[in-house]
Structures are given as structure tokens and as C-alpha cells.
């Protein structure tokens, strides 16, 4: 495994106006693995904790959020135990991040070329000229025509699709071992979405690196991912190889997801799936999905363990039977 996440807990700890401590239990024991050369799809409705998982792993949480427990082994080191300086060296060099709003993520006051050169020279010893020619080559490989001219462009001069290609170039230029794409196609035209996903897929395959793609589009998972982890209320409810899980979903939530259409997931109301997500300030003791589950029974008052299924593993008392 390239990355193994075990029992990751993240909490938002705040004080209300009466100075009482309020704790939102946002991630409740997230565990999953990303294999070398494999693409993991992280799916779930809005608020399930998909992006928060990534920000927790990369040490990008802002107060009041903080990781309270867990391990994340990457290349033999626990990301969650590293100092900010050590993590900073890994981010952008060993792990590349692709964000969902490329146009606002790019530094508005630096030319594209300067940004591509900057991220290289921060992480490795390389001359300005070499970094520049690598940047040019990278723009070509992410499908940007006329790269020499684009190096001189300002971020605001790029279209959304072009900006996303630049962000992909920024993520890949230091040849990372793991690529994380957080909803990489939100806000792009449908035709551009497919182009970007094809590009990501091709780059990951060609470089034989691992990748995590966060999405709420099951179609994207089916088409581009090898493995899938289904998240709900800050837990991975089911995981396994995409083909297996989609053919024989073991968890009631996965079944509900597969039965619903992507648009409903995007809205994130959860209403179509039978109710709102649980209150993170007052989580149920037992199965977190219990309140919405059609098959809830007496056992569900106790937290279900992750148990092996035909297609992988699921966090359900009835997973073996289903």
C-alpha cells in the first residue's frame, strides 16, 4: 500500500456564547488504503467528510478543526505525526493536490510560469532555466497548446478548464507518488469535465502513481477508479474494488447511493436517500447510518465493526448476510 489511513478522527472544537465547549465529530475513524498505481474513488454525499479527510491527512486543517486520533502511513512515515515543516516538504513534492476551484486557487499575482518554477525550486535543487523548460514540457503533457506563451499568462487570463490543467501541471511537476484530486471537475463544462478526467487518468496510469479522486459522481468512480471507499458521517461505510462493490454492494448506504442519481447527491440534502445526515454534535452511539437505514434492527444500537464481504469490507452488522 502506498498510503494506509487508519482510524482517523477529526473534531471541530469550539466554544459557544455561554463558553460551553462544543465538539463536532466530523471524522469518526476513517480507514482506507491506496495501492501503488491504483485510483481510489472517495464518494459520499456532501458533508460526509471526503475533503476533510484529505485536509486532515495533509495537515491543512485550520483551527478549530484538529486531528484527535489516527495514523496515516505514507512511504513509511506517519503523516499525522510529522512536523509542519516535514509535512510541507511532502506536500507539493511527494503528494500533489488538485483542488476544485482552480481559478481562485492560483496565485492571482504571479504568472503561470513563475508559479510552476516556484513550486519546483522550493522542493528540489534545480536552476531557474531548467525549471522553466520542465514547466514548458509539463504544460505540453497536460494538453496546453502554445506553452511558451502560456507561461507568461496571468491566472485571470485562463479559462476554467485551462486553469484546471495548470493546477494538474503544478501537482505533477515534482513527480509525486500520490495524487489527490478533490472534486477536480466541479464548475467545469461537461465536455471539459470528461477531458480533465481523461487527462488525470492517463497521467496517473503513465506515471504509475497512486491517486485519490474525491467525487459525488458514481459515474466518475465507475469509469475512472479501481477502488472505491464510500463515506458517510465521517466513516468509510464500504470499500473494495469498484467493479465488485458496484455489482454486489453490501452496505445499505451503498445500495441507496447506487439507486439514486448523481444530481441528488450533488444537492446534498440527503432527503432522497431517506433523511438528513446525523447531527455531528450529537452522534448516535450505534451505527451512524442507523437512523436512515431501512434494515435497522436491535443490533444497530451497537457500533458495527468493519467486516469482510464478498466484494471487500463493509461497516454493517448484516454485511455478511446481505
Amino acid at each position: 500500500m502506498l498510503l494506509t489511513v487508519e482510524d482517523l478522527h477529526t473534531r471541530f472544537i469550539t466554544r459557544d456564547l455561554d463558553d460551553r465547549v462544543r465538539v463536532a465529530e466530523a471524522l469518526n475513524g476513517v480507514s482506507f488504503g491506496v495501492g501503488e498505481g491504483r485510483i481510489l474513488g472517495l464518494v459520499g454525499e456532501s458533508g460526509a467528510g471526503k475533503s476533510l479527510t484529505v485536509t486532515s491527512l495533509l495537515g491543512l486543517l485550520r483551527p478549530p478543526a484538529r486531528v484527535t486520533a489516527g495514523r496515516a502511513l505514507f512511504e513509511g512515515r506517519d503523516l499525522l505525526a510529522l512536523s509542519e515543516a516535514a509535512l510541507s516538504e511532502i506536500r507539493g513534492s511527494r503528494i500533489g493536490l488538485i483542488v476544485q476551484s482552480p481559478r481562485s486557487a492560483l496565485d492571482p499575482l504571479a504568472r503561470i510560469g513563475a508559479q510552476l518554477v516556484r513550486v519546483q525550486r522550493v522542493h528540489r535543487r534545480i536552476s531557474e532555466a531548467d525549471a522553466r523548460s520542465r514547466a514548458e514540457a509539463m504544460l505540453v503533457s497536460v494538453g496546453i497548446p502554445d506553452p511558451r506563451r502560456r507561461l507568461e499568462a496571468w491566472p485571470h487570463e485562463l479559462s476554467g478548464g485551462m486553469a484546471q490543467r495548470v493546477v494538474i501541471a503544478l501537482a505533477l511537476i515534482n513527480e509525486p507518488h500520490l495524487l489527490i484530486a478533490d472534486e477536480p471537475t466541479t464548475g467545469l463544462d461537461v465536455t471539459v469535465q470528461a477531458q480533465i478526467l481523461d487527462l488525470l487518468h492517463e497521467q496517473v496510469r503513465r506515471r504509475r502513481i497512486g491517486a485519490i479522486v474525491i467525487t459525488h459522481d458514481l459515474g466518475v468512480v465507475a469509469q475512472y477508479c479501481d477502488d472505491v471507499a464510500v463515506m458517510f458521517a465521517g466513516q468509510v461505510m464500504e470499500q473494495g474494488a469498484v467493479a465488485e462493490v458496484f455489482a454486489r454492494p453490501a452496505h445499505p448506504y451503498t445500495r441507496a447511493l447506487l439507486a439514486s442519481v448523481p444530481e441528488r447527491l450533488v444537492l446534498g440534502t440527503g432527503k432522497m436517500l431517506g433523511g438528513p445526515p446525523p447531527d455531528l454534535y450529537a452522534l448516535p452511539r450505534g451505527c451512524l447510518y442507523g437512523q436512515r437505514c431501512a434494515h435497522a434492527a436491535a443490533q444497530c444500537a451497537a457500533p458495527p465493526p468493519m467486516s469482510a464481504t464478498q466484494s471487500g469490507a463493509a461497516r454493517c452488522h448484516f454485511a455478511g448476510l446481505a
Binding site: R91, S93, L170
Partner: protein, 330 residues
Amino acid sequence: MRRLALLAPLLLIIGFLTFALLRMGGQDPTAMLAGPTATIEEINRLRADYGLDQPMPVQFGIWVGHVLQGDLGRSWITNRAVLGELIDRLPATLELLLCGVALGALLGIPAGMVAAFRRGRFADFASRALALFGFSIPTYFLALSMLLIFFYVLEWSPPGMGRLSLMLTPPPRLTGSYTLDALLAGDGAAARSAFSQLILPVVCVAIATAAPVVSQVRAIVLGVLGTDHISYARAQGLPHAMISRIALRGAATPVVTFVGAELAGLVGTTSLIEYVFAWGGVGQFGLEAIIKGDFAVVQGYVLMLALFSVAMFLIVDLMVLALEPRAALR
């Protein structure tokens, strides 16, 4: 450039408002000019001389006509041309204003940045407490307190009586700033005296400038630190110092805009400080003209303030154009 096209109607409106407000203010300069022993006939003749017997729109028309020919009229008190009086006094005000605002910005901008970067820590509270102090203290009171402490009690400073010790003769005028001119003329004693006279009023202007600058810069930098491109910079593993630089670069445009607006707005505040220190700049001149009902001077003074503000905003626009790659589009 659209702003330049708006300049003419703007100045006309400001001119008219000043004109009308002065005449509705109930002041009668002719009675003051004629003196206590004047007869009604004498006052009326004086009034006709100054054109004050005409209906107001006619008076305004005459004034605008003269202004267009570069004639701002005469002061009824000194009987000198208003334009000349203003130009003579302008360098003194500019010296005070520019030094004060520069000092205030030099102190206020870093303080605001430190407050933002050390949010919630001691440096944040300290700089905000000082800013609050600067906000709450009235300018004239600040100026008087400074004189009381540094001249009367500590005797560190010369009295607030103008721009140069009364014992010395002013240096030949080149820039209009006594300190600079004395240095250029090689007159060490005059330069020292002019500089020590300058310190207290400049510090007053600096405090009045720094207070709003600290809180604005803090808010601006905090805003920039919360943007997507700063979190993305962290995700790229850029070092802390580089991220700070990116944030500061992003804050430059709003900070320049704010300080420029401050500079334009502080002309009014400065006139009170000039008054307390008998600075003899346009601010004090304008303030005295308002009190004495010297209509032509007030009109010229207000017109000059308006032009100054417009010039400031123009300079800010040009600076933003240089700082912002996106500004060229607008």
C-alpha cells in the same frame, strides 16, 4: 480616465455648495471689515464693491468666470490674491501632511500585518489597543497634550510657534520645506530648528493616520490569508516565509488604496493640528478664513482641497495599475 471627465462637474458642484453654504451661514464680512464706527451707507457701499448686493447665482457666475481665468479673488482681510496666499502656504501643509502620513503608514502598516499574522496573541492585542487609543483621542486634544508634555513639562521640544525659531531667518525658498531648504542652503542651525519644530506636529498627524491604518491593514491581511490561493500555496508545500510574501503582495493593492484615501481625508484633520502649532499652512489659513468669513479664501481653499483629493485618487489609481495585473482590464 472616466474620473477626469467627472472632475469638472464635481468641482462645479463643490464650488457651488461652498458658495451657497458660506452665504447662508449668517456671517457678514462687510460689517467686520468696515469696523464698529461705520455707517450703514459705508457698509452698503462696501457690500456693492464686493458684489454682495447681487443675487447669489449672479455672484456665483462671476466667481466661476474669474476662477476659469485663474483668478480666485482677493482675501478681504490681507487684501492679497487668494491663489498666491494658498501657493505660499501649500508647501508647509504638504510637508506636515506627507511626513505625518508617511510616518503613520510606516508604523501602522507593519503593526497591522503583525497583528494579522499573530492573530489572538499579545502583539495583536497590543497593536489593536494602541489603534483604539489613536482612534478615540480627538486630534486637537492630542496636539495640545503633546505640547504640554514635550514642551512645557519635559522641555524636549520647542514651543508650538510656527515652523522655525523666531530667532532665525528662513532659508531661501526652493522646495518650500524649511528643513529641506535650510539643508540645501547649508544652514545647519536653521535646519535643526526647522526639524525640531516639525517633529511634534508630524507625530500628531502620524498618530491620526496610524490608528485606522492598523485596523484596516489587519483586516485586509486576514482577508487575504483566508483566500483559496493561500490555502493552495500551503498545499503546494511552499515555505512559510514565501506564503507570507504572497499574502502581503495580495494585500498591497487594498492597502495602497486605503492609505491614499486616508491622505486625502486627513487634510481636514491636519488643519486643526496646524492651528494648534501655528504652522501657517493652508489648513490653518483656511480654518481662520472660515472663522472670519473671508469668503474668497474659503472658496479657494475648498476648491484646492477638492483638487488635492482628486489628485490623490488619481495617484492611487496609477499605483494600483502598476501593482495589479488584473487592473488593466478594467
